[in-house]
Assembly symmetry: C2
Homo-oligomer: 324 residues x 2
Amino acid sequence: MKLLELYAKMKGDLNQIERELERSVMDDHALLSDTSTHLLKAGGKRLRPVIVLLAGKFGEYNLDVLKRVAVPLELIHMASLVHDDVIDDAETRRGQLTVKSKWDNRIAMYTGDYIHGKALTIATQLPNPHIHQILSKALVEMCIGEMEQIRDFFNTEQTVRNYLLRIRRKTALLIAISCQLGAIASNADRLTANRLYRFGYNIGMAFQIRDDLLDLYGTEKQIGKPPGSDIRQGNITLPVILALRDPGAREPLLHEIRAIRAHEGFPDTKRAISIIRNSVGGDLADELASRYIQKALKALEGLPDYTAKKNLTDIAHFVGKRNY
Amino acid sequence: MKLLELYAKMKGDLNQIERELERSVMDDHALLSDTSTHLLKAGGKRLRPVIVLLAGKFGEYNLDVLKRVAVPLELIHMASLVHDDVIDDAETRRGQLTVKSKWDNRIAMYTGDYIHGKALTIATQLPNPHIHQILSKALVEMCIGEMEQIRDFFNTEQTVRNYLLRIRRKTALLIAISCQLGAIASNADRLTANRLYRFGYNIGMAFQIRDDLLDLYGTEKQIGKPPGSDIRQGNITLPVILALRDPGAREPLLHEIRAIRAHEGFPDTKRAISIIRNSVGGDLADELASRYIQKALKALEGLPDYTAKKNLTDIAHFVGKRNY
């Protein structure tokens, strides 16, 4: 089944989640509703809610319960994007103005705080404190991931392990707990929840590696912002780390990265991108993404043969697919 | 009993809270531990933990339980200060460099996020979801309060009601739930928890009014930062709103506020402060603060005559006292 068909099939439940997302940020305060609704309207794949619902199929599927997990997870993801945009000084995301550029950094900061708070307000309506604990822990880990990213800006000597630990916190963890919480909220057994967690963790890792590849290999139209924005802000991603190990690419690439770092404003990244594209970095990163997809599929093996298992397999293949 | 004596008497339990506060931000990540510890070391009165512990005396006092409420509440307060400093562009707080000036705004933003997350991680260890709900709701309300403050910057036509709603969210609510959660965590009955909530709410309102008065009437040494910093950033506080109603002060004050707004950098607030001091604004604000203290004392009346009740009374008098 194609991913579009899956979304079509889940449309009823996803629409309910969408309405709940809108409702969650609509009350309270005009400006916060504006900024949050602006974010919501920017769309996105709603990957986390989709995964929550599919994970819920391995237990007692109850949309009223699952939405109290799906909505907070999507909100936490959105909040991390707003705060990200403050850090990245990003003018656009998904082709739309960011909150920080349409309003300002202060408002973007409190919009993120507000959405975090809203997420927890909704999740804590569920009586299971274990769910609250997992969510709070994830918030902490995500912040650490963001701080590691700031710490590692322009660090050309960082290791692959360094990068993997960082994206684990920044991205993979939230997708992992989307699977896990969908299962826990549906009273699935512990083994099932753990398998789903591993599935989510591994597609999350692949997802971030693919995203980092896209920023170097994609077009502005595909990405929704100018390519090379990672390297421009000093975020040394996997393809770059691997390109720096390529003897033919290392010295010229180091030279370009130093030039980007020294440049004020909007440095030209064309030469750096071209060096990376001509190195082994992209292919090696691609291979690693594929390995994570294989691990994700492996994690599904022990689960019963429900349609949801087939759907998760499709999602893994979609995440694993080269899109540039 | 003087407040210092109260702190001395509670020293054992407060030291445990202090150690727990330090421990809560010490693991995880070097830079986040540095920024958070820097914040902790800046000290503060630890008003929220003190209040939690005293409220706990009206139920089954258990420090191990109470610290899982006291530490998160102090952490949430700290996180709000870091994010405040980003907004205020404050270089110092309590005479110490702020995180945003010692590191930078990005790091201050994630330090705040991290501390929020840590707060919830600790509170969610308690099995009572009602506690988690109250805390999450407070986070949302505090953000709304902050956004209202930004919205109302330099709005010289705002009403007293406007101001009161804003400080309710920004300050009073967290002190109110410190009382309430201390009681709930100790299994005090609902009526007691509600009385303590009302006590906290009212001293919180008085506390913020006093703080806003101090910024206009205090010395740099007392405040730990240059006086007039509220009006400098456009935060129109109660004494200013009331001074603007004073026919003799209104026009010259409006003129000064417009000049401050138009000025880039560090505008001179001396004349504005002098106009406010010569108006009825300060006295009227002072009266309102006293009324809140009276309401706080009233809320305590129905509670049993434990020592803790006497201590809370002392705290109310301390908060109500003119300190300039």
